[in-house]
């Protein structure tokens, strides 16, 4: 009986889990291997005697060097970081305040407004970039970081608002009422009581917003044109794919280096982020 249970656990739990992890991590592995593989190995045909697609016998940092020296990768990283950070901060500020208002203040059409904000989030970017391009041209901010800093919030604010609204709703209303009886104004109650409790929610909204802006492709592709203004996802793709030639080594090196900051942010805040996804602490 016990033997059977163990066997079942392997079959239904560990095996699927292992496959899942393998499936998720394989692209990263592939990225790393390709980055470290010399060109000679990279373009070896499949019927070559020493064909070995899953590992390399001769690791090299040539592609990374190539990426950093031959392209503007450092500039792209800086651009991406700046744009993602500023856009995230703007969106968080608006999202937290709007989420609080929608969750807490009783005013007419609050529910309708909440739904409205959610619907704007559902409009696909592939549709929105056309009118946005027009606006950006009118304001003459094309090919500057502002083109992205001001357009990313169009999808980040609804996202943050919605997430924060849900989080604020899990915080008992009495905490705030008690603070207001204790002598706090609504602002003070928000500042001293509600926001500190909402930190896990704010952090997870921030992490998501940061990741979304970091990885964003379409707006960055359309609104930026000069190489020194580009972000990592666009820069790598547009500068390292020339015609039908794919520079796989530097491409993968760019992808690898580009994903490090996001991975770092996630691992740093993982505890808060999990708490933010699963609801607040109970009073």
């Amino acid at each position: 009986m016990i033997e059977g249970a163990k066997w079942r656990k392997w079959l239904w739990f560990y095996l699927p889990l292992a496959m899942f992890i393998l499936g998720l991590l394989f692209p990263f592995y592939w990225m790393v291997v390709t980055t470290l593989r010399p060109d000679g190995e990279l373009y070896r045909p499949w019927n070559h005697a020493q064909y070995a697609p899953f590992w390399t016998s001769d690791p090299t940092l040539d592609h990374v060097k190539n990426l950093i020296q031959e392209t503007l990768f450092g500039v792209w990283m800086w651009n991406t970081m700046l744009i993602a950070l500023v856009a995230t901060l703007i969106s968080l500020l608006c999202g937290v305040i709007a989420g609080y208002a929608l969750a807490r203040l009783r005013f007419r059409y609050a529910g309708l407004l909440g739904t409205g904000i959610f619907i704007t989030y559902l409009v696909p970017q592939t549709l929105l970039f056309i009118p946005l391009a027009e606006i950006i041209r009118n304001y003459r901010i094309g090919d500057t970081p502002w083109a992205l800093i001001l357009t990313y919030p169009t999808f980040l604010i609804p996202f943050c608002t919605w997430l924060m609204m849900g989080y604020f709703k899990t915080i008992p209303k009495e905490l705030e009422e008690c603070a207001r009886i204790d002598g706090a104004t609504r602002w003070q109650a928000m500042l001293y009581i509600i926001f500190p409790i909402a930190v896990p929610g704010i952090l997870s909204a921030g992490i998501f917003a940061f990741t979304l802006s970091w990885n964003e492709f379409i707006y960055a592709l359309v609104f930026l044109s000069s190489p020194e203004q580009k972000t990592v996802p666009v820069g790598v793709v547009s500068e390292l794919i020339r015609g039908d030639v794919f520079y796989w080594g530097p491409l993968m090196a760019g992808a690898l280096l580009g994903s490090i900051p996001v991975a770092f942010v996630y691992s740093f805040f993982v505890e808060h982020y999990v708490a933010g996804m699963t609801g607040s602490v109970k009073g």
């Binding site: 905490l175 603070a179 207001r180 009886i181 204790d182 409790i197 109970k282 009073g283």
Partner: protein, 363 residues
Amino acid sequence: MARVLLTRLNKKYDETHAVKDVNLEIRDREFVVLVGPSGCGKTTTLRMVAGLEEITSGEIRIDERVVNDLPPMDRDIAMVFQNYALYPHMSVYDNMAFGLKMRKFARDEIEKRVRQAADILGIQALLARRPRQLSGGQRQRVALGRAIVRHPRVFLFDEPLSNLDAKLRVQMRVELKRLHHRLETTAIYVTHDQVEAMTLGDRVVVMKDGLVQQVGEPLELYGLPANLFVASFIGSPAMNFAEVAVAESHGVLWAEAAGLRIRIPPKKQAALARYAGQRVTLGVRPEALRVATGADAADHAFDSTVEVVEPLGNEILLDVRAGANLIVARVDPATRVKVQERVRLALDPERLHFFDAKTEAAI
């Protein structure tokens, strides 16, 4: 120390009229309990006093000042919530100090007051802990402490004991009463538990459907309920009711129902005279009933069949059937009766209540 005056207080939500024309005076240092079933408007009334709920019409005064439009912080009140509402990210000390910090008290004064409150409540050892490290009873004490450090003019309690287990609730009830004697602060206390209301209140306000049913001292509510609702709500086990017809024979009024014929006591004769030939509701408390002996007059006794016997130790509850009526009697613990046995019960004629069948008001 303060007097609270509610005048024609109303609260309407979109479709419900939650509080209807409540008039109430809470005297200085008085402990007033609002009691009633859920949805009766008691919590809404309290929240209006606190300033957490807007007033639709009417007036609230604390001392002579109309506070209708004052924000909660300016009313100088403290409130204890049902779910404690402790700030989870602060230590017990900071929880208690928060109200004082907001009011810009000096640091050593805050320290002094918090220590003092902690002494009164016996939570000195918990000051450094976080709320989540406390038990339910301890949290309740911290919530009380947070209210008393402020030395407010009025305490508001919103069902503060209902999240505690039964034993702790009784214990905290006694402590609350002791605390009130010690602090002598005006208090308004909301509960749905009539035992809490009776034991804690100097006066009790019974509410139902947004209306005040009766205001009075606990024993007054128990002895002279103003209507059927108050009679049924106050007292445990609840008062027995029976539909009876008022009949006159030989110049005396009788209350009659199937299996029941009781002479109406002289004091009530005049009041019930105009109900002759009509139906009224007769109420009798379980403790006004006992097993009849030969000495009991036949016109204050009736026969019944025992259906359930509930021995509680200090008393026995008999659930009996008399005609169509199910009646609970609270009898001497030495009584020996069996289920399905016939038993003759006598009632105390001085403790009969009569209610108008339509208006449900006491006669």
